[in-house]
């Protein structure tokens, strides 16, 4: 038999059509892959994978050193970096990842007018926004949660003392990573969705991070010198990493890793509500943004 391509004409599809939930899942998977440059040219993979690798390095070094110096920490569990502090200490890297990849998810469809192709398929505009948000949240959660988990596996493998405390701290930090991912993804997508031009999105997300961090830092510094500690603590609300870290401290009993712990009293609950408002408000803004884009 020789290999000949036979044109057998048009064939109809009579297999299953899996409907809306499957459509949303497909879009989620596609966007999660896109967040790491998968399914796109090699150039698109460099940035996310480079950042992912750098994120892992401190964890790997910490594991190596604690393994060598296993006599350390007679009194308490030891890691060079606390589980719950990992995201806060490495926040510039996380911000760069967010700035580089949020536009991939939020602005490409707008810039190239791809949205009509999605909205003419069996999913709603809210489904579309939730799939994008879920994908970026998951991508960030992988970025943040993996090194924290490597720290924990390292502690298990090197048979550290106080493994019970390790387990609790790690579990709390994983929940914290999810909170960071939820808040950061909402901010990143909203900013990127309003700056569809190439390169602008990256700059805009980075600017929001840097300006909020610098402004809050200055306010906190000034407040400290004037011994207005309440003001310094409340100011932490206005920069994403301090905000979420303070919620970790309040809700999960983590040690504060930010310049300021949450304000005492109502501070914790208020900061938690702010996080919820950022997520819900962000989704509402994204919904409006893509609803308008789809109607054009």
């Amino acid at each position: 038999m020789t290999s000949v391509i036979h044109d057998i004409g048009y064939r109809h599809y009579d297999g299953p059509r899996l409907g809306r939930a499957y459509a949303v899942r497909s879009l989620f998977t596609h966007n999660l892959r896109a967040a790491y440059g998968l399914g796109r040219p090699a150039k698109a993979k460099i940035m996310p994978f480079l950042l992912f690798t750098i994120m892992l390095l401190p964890a790997a070094i910490s594991v190596a050193i604690t393994a060598l110096a296993s006599s350390l920490g007679n009194g308490q569990p030891v890691n060079l970096i606390r589980y719950s502090a990992y995201a806060v200490y490495l926040q510039p890297l996380i911000a760069i990842f967010l700035a580089a990849q949020a536009p991939v998810l939020a602005s490409r469809d707008l810039r190239f007018h791809v949205t009509p192709l999605y909205f003419s398929r069996p999913l709603s505009r809210l489904d579309y926004v939730l799939a994008k948000y879920g994908a970026l949240t998951t991508a960030l959660f992988i970025l943040l949660g993996t090194p924290v988990t490597i720290l924990f596996i390292g502690a298990l493998a090197t048979k550290q003392k106080h493994l019970g405390t390790h387990t609790l701290d790690w579990a709390g930090a994983v929940v914290g990573c999810l909170m960071f991912a939820l808040v950061l993804a909402a901010i990143g997508l909203v900013v990127a969705a309003f700056t569809p031009r190439r390169g602008f999105g990256v700059t805009a997300v980075m600017a929001v991070y840097l300006i909020s961090t610098a402004a809050v830092g200055s306010i906190q510094g000034i407040a400290e010198t004037q011994t207005k500690f309440g003001v310094a603590r409340w100011a932490g609300m206005f920069t994403p990493f301090n905000l979420v870290d303070d919620v970790q401290v309040w809700a999960l009993g983590a040690k504060s890793s930010s310049p300021e712990p949450p304000p005492s009293g109502l501070g914790g609950p208020v900061f938690a509500l702010v996080c919820v408002a950022v997520v819900v408000g962000g989704l509402a803004i994204l919904y409006q943004r893509f609803r308008r884009a789809g109607a054009q």
């Binding site: 299953p16 809306r20 499957y22 459509a23 399914g39 791809v114």
Partner: protein, 300 residues
């Protein structure tokens, strides 16, 4: 059964009445939707896809209500937008597989259908390259493929020949005709050019300023204006004798060079011409059916 039906459909945008009292019934087949830019073609398609609600009246596609059953409609129809809508940094294969899955096709079926559909629209080796490097004609084919990949019952093609050169235009029109005839998929295709749709559509809907001007079969548009051109290898006297004879029989006849132009009354016109030519012993070179272009029907 009609695939598209609207009843008193209206759409009011702030300051603009995009559609007004539109009532149409469209049977399966290739249907042309003709109108100038801003006539309401795209608005109608968006209402039919359930993307925007009508302000008045109602519409159904494949028997499904556009407001209440839009998700079901969107599972069964395909849509090719007028404007560019493709991401440049993915390959056609990658993109078409992805949209097939968003249409609900399982992974394996999505891959098979993507390969099949890209072949049917005429994209071969280049489908593995990023779309950013494609010509306008190739991009139009990818846009068409994404509308067909989930094997819809009906496709909406919004100005598919826009931006194509004459050869690309012909190829796209041939492809649209094949979708209707060989693939068995109904097509609603829009254009601001009547002549173009006349070549592929069986039925034409013409709208202007959001109102229905006409909705009828293409044959009905052109039948009324059918003209038979008769060429003779005789001197003018022979031509005139034939003309006289046909006029006596009640036909409208005009001299045209060495031949005659005869308005076709009905099927018997052909027989009558043949018999008269034979009776008079004239040398008939040819008889040609000259269908008037639809444009002429509307300009007259």
């Amino acid at each position: 059964m009609s695939i598209i039906a609207t009843r008193g459909l209206g759409k009011q945008f702030p300051g603009v009445l995009a559609l007004d009292e539109l009532t149409i019934d469209i049977e399966p087949g290739v249907v042309g939707l003709v109108g100038a830019n801003g006539a309401g073609k795209s608005t109608l398609i968006k209402i039919l896809l359930g993307l925007i609600p009508p302000t008045r009246g109602q519409a159904s596609v494949l028997g499904l209500d556009t407001v209440r059953e839009s998700l079901k409609i969107r599972e069964l129809v395909g849509y090719m937008p007028e404007n560019d809508c493709l991401p440049p940094d993915v390959s056609a294969t990658e993109f078409i597989v992805h949209v097939a899955r968003v249409s609900g096709l399982p992974a394996t079926a999505a891959r098979e259908r993507a390969a099949d559909t890209l072949r049917h629209v005429g994209l071969y080796e280049e489908r593995y390259r990023p779309i950013g490097g494609y010509s306008t004609g190739m991009r139009q084919r990818v846009k068409l493929a994404q509308a067909l990949v989930h094997d819809p019952k009906l496709v909406f093609l919004d100005e598919p020949t826009n931006g194509l050169d004459p050869a690309g235009r012909d190829e796209m029109l041939a492809l649209i005709r094949r979708i209707g005839t060989q693939f068995g998929i109904s097509v609603l295709v829009t254009s601001h050019l009547l002549g173009e749709l006349e070549r592929v559509a069986q039925h034409l809907v013409i709208i202007d300023g959001g109102r229905l001007l006409r909705s009828q079969a293409v044959t009905a548009f052109t039948q009324a204006s059918g003209v038979l051109a008769v060429e003779l290898d005789d001197e003018a006297a022979g031509r005139d004798r034939l003309g006289h004879r046909l006029a006596q029989a009640g036909l409208r006849v005009h001299p045209d060079g060495r031949g005659l132009l005869i308005d076709i009354a009905d099927e018997t016109t052909y027989d009558l011409v043949r018999d008269c030519v034979a009776d008079l012993g004239l040398a008939l070179v040819r008889m040609e059916n000259r269908r008037h272009r639809i444009e002429e029907v509307f300009s007259s």
